[in-house]
Symmetry: D2
Amino acid sequence: MKPQLQPPLIIINFKTYLEATGKRAVELAKQAEKISKETSTSIVVAPQFVDIKAVAEAVEIPVFAQHLDPIKPGSYTGHVLVDSIKQAGAVGTLINHSERQLKLTDIDAIIKIAKEHDLISCVCTSKPSISAAVAYLNPDIISIEPPELIGTGVAVSMEQPEAVTNTLKLVRKVNNEAVILCGAGISHGEDVKVSLKLGAQGVLVASAIVKSNDSYTIIREFAYATKTH
Amino acid sequence: MKPQLQPPLIIINFKTYLEATGKRAVELAKQAEKISKETSTSIVVAPQFVDIKAVAEAVEIPVFAQHLDPIKPGSYTGHVLVDSIKQAGAVGTLINHSERQLKLTDIDAIIKIAKEHDLISCVCTSKPSISAAVAYLNPDIISIEPPELIGTGVAVSMEQPEAVTNTLKLVRKVNNEAVILCGAGISHGEDVKVSLKLGAQGVLVASAIVKSNDSYTIIREFAYATKTH
Amino acid sequence: MKPQLQPPLIIINFKTYLEATGKRAVELAKQAEKISKETSTSIVVAPQFVDIKAVAEAVEIPVFAQHLDPIKPGSYTGHVLVDSIKQAGAVGTLINHSERQLKLTDIDAIIKIAKEHDLISCVCTSKPSISAAVAYLNPDIISIEPPELIGTGVAVSMEQPEAVTNTLKLVRKVNNEAVILCGAGISHGEDVKVSLKLGAQGVLVASAIVKSNDSYTIIREFAYATKTH
Amino acid sequence: MKPQLQPPLIIINFKTYLEATGKRAVELAKQAEKISKETSTSIVVAPQFVDIKAVAEAVEIPVFAQHLDPIKPGSYTGHVLVDSIKQAGAVGTLINHSERQLKLTDIDAIIKIAKEHDLISCVCTSKPSISAAVAYLNPDIISIEPPELIGTGVAVSMEQPEAVTNTLKLVRKVNNEAVILCGAGISHGEDVKVSLKLGAQGVLVASAIVKSNDSYTIIREFAYATKTH
């Protein structure tokens, strides 16, 4: 059965940062788990493929893959099979991150593969109209991330609040179930609060946490921010 | 320091077969290790990304990734970073498998990344002229695999021996160091023997072993075939 | 100003068939034009990039490109710039044909580029949910083509009528303006009639016309079929 | 029969610049033709796909495509068929430009397609080792263009002369016939002279000519520079 995630939700994308590779991926995931338990906040970690198993064995919080290929078992050397990430302990996957964009038919195919394997699907989108398009494909989570803000430290919730509110407006016309997150530039607890005030049900974050000298403090700041908005 | 592989060499590509995913990847690697030790044969296993760590922790034979992305640490969600596979225990990687073909500049970049990280690079090619082209990029291993024979059970060494001999002839004009393997359709010990007689220094195999009901017997047959040619 | 196309509509995709390359592209377009005038039917031709200008100069019926790249003028060697096809006389373009599938963000970008240049955008989709997703991006035309039927001679309207009716149902929830076509396997006038009865506003066809020994007769059959449904 | 080009050679890549689109592509090609005749210099123009026919009809100097797809006639909507560019009057094609990079097997396939159709193949490479790799695939022309210098106005011949000389050294070990050009940042007659002194047999240029307010003067300067080195 597919696991349930209780919003508000914080997804930490480890990307391919050295600070979140190998043992350091496990350490970061443990910090996230500790804060998740202390603050009763839903925190998801998305490590690199190679690190999924070690991370999933080390923590009890949900682990997502960063990508999945639209393939069945067979002759697909160098691709990512749903069964491999599921057996390693992943309970969901990012899809179509702006750094790993996909063809429309592949997004659709991967959402279906995830559903068939009881994995949570989180599709990333770059703007409200694309969020609405994706809403029709019924992913579990839609995360709006204007690519021009990713990694800038300038938060989508501050700089482009209408990207969030328009995503909500358009998506809700056709889809009442998808959890809607926002991301790109989220750096402070205040960014998280504003995101939730705008109507987002959580955030997708990466560099602000992974590249921080004190990621524990930042994660905790984000977690508390989800409590007090 | 880069590990040394002593030809003749058998590389087993796990592809994305269910029979070689998760726990079954570890089991298959253990069979390969057992035969490797019993017969003093160089056997390499190439599991899926997600399974590299568990396989590398379970066996002492060399573990290769099936692919690597030409990236540095950073913002590359869903890509495969060299550090992640190395920290997980891989000592080499396949590059440009016919099921994961790459741009020419990316092949060059990945060979260099592998070299800088003391990883063994094994570039797959489809025909002799392409093998020769790749030889100039100085990978450690070149594996010629006519794609039309992959997965057919009709061995390259039997059906297209000139693909092997011409690869040897052309590559050796410019590169005396690269280990040259052949693959595609290798199914029986006899196919391995003929490959070595043609001058190849080993084989790259997948379905004949992975999809077999008795992979142990097949691997052993291959291993012995390298002894008696 | 963007030209208006009056449904029912027949779009003939020349693909990269030799029978519709160079002078033969012009000849085929002239046949289509003759029938268009004789029968007062909206017929569009979509030749290869290289043939757009000669075709557009030879006929008065609308000419579409088969694809467009999401680029601005500049350093994009080997890509297709909107200005080049427009200056050559194209009035629209196919987008995301199943033989030239695109990333979701590129589909969105190309629709916008087309709109800004007063070109008609026709996005091809493979199934109803994807048609609905695309509807949110506001193309002028959506053409549903189940890829498994393309080139088979087995018509979508006969074999998968629900692909057409469900596309209509889902798209019309959010978009009342897009012209909806169907394609794949359309081979006889009867296939066209049934398509229109199902609610489609026209058809997208290729091999049945281009590969025919008597394309004139087939086009005329299709044109008349749009009159009598 | 394949046309012969007499080095030294100047290839002008029109890219997708507005200054070299549609009628302006024809005008620029006519300038190049005029100078070619006045100075008896081999000048090739490479316009966008859509403009090939009009340019080839307007001038007698050789016309290249900027790219070609590795396909046969058939169902390849939105791709570039060799027959379409040949029938339109192209006598050659760029392959693997740094703005349109290709898989290694596709480079090989396109060179073969060009050969079978008596078209001149010009493969672009980014560095000496890649030039040498490509030399084994027997294209007619190899053009070395360090991508970091493209469009900068800083000429490869000045900034990275060893990219040119090492390309020559490596390529000539295995291939005595390919014409070797250099490109990237070539902006002045002096850059052309130095290129030829280094051993290159011509240049591949784009922005310095296409974006110039006085392209006629620049082309003529380049043409004369090939005479006096």
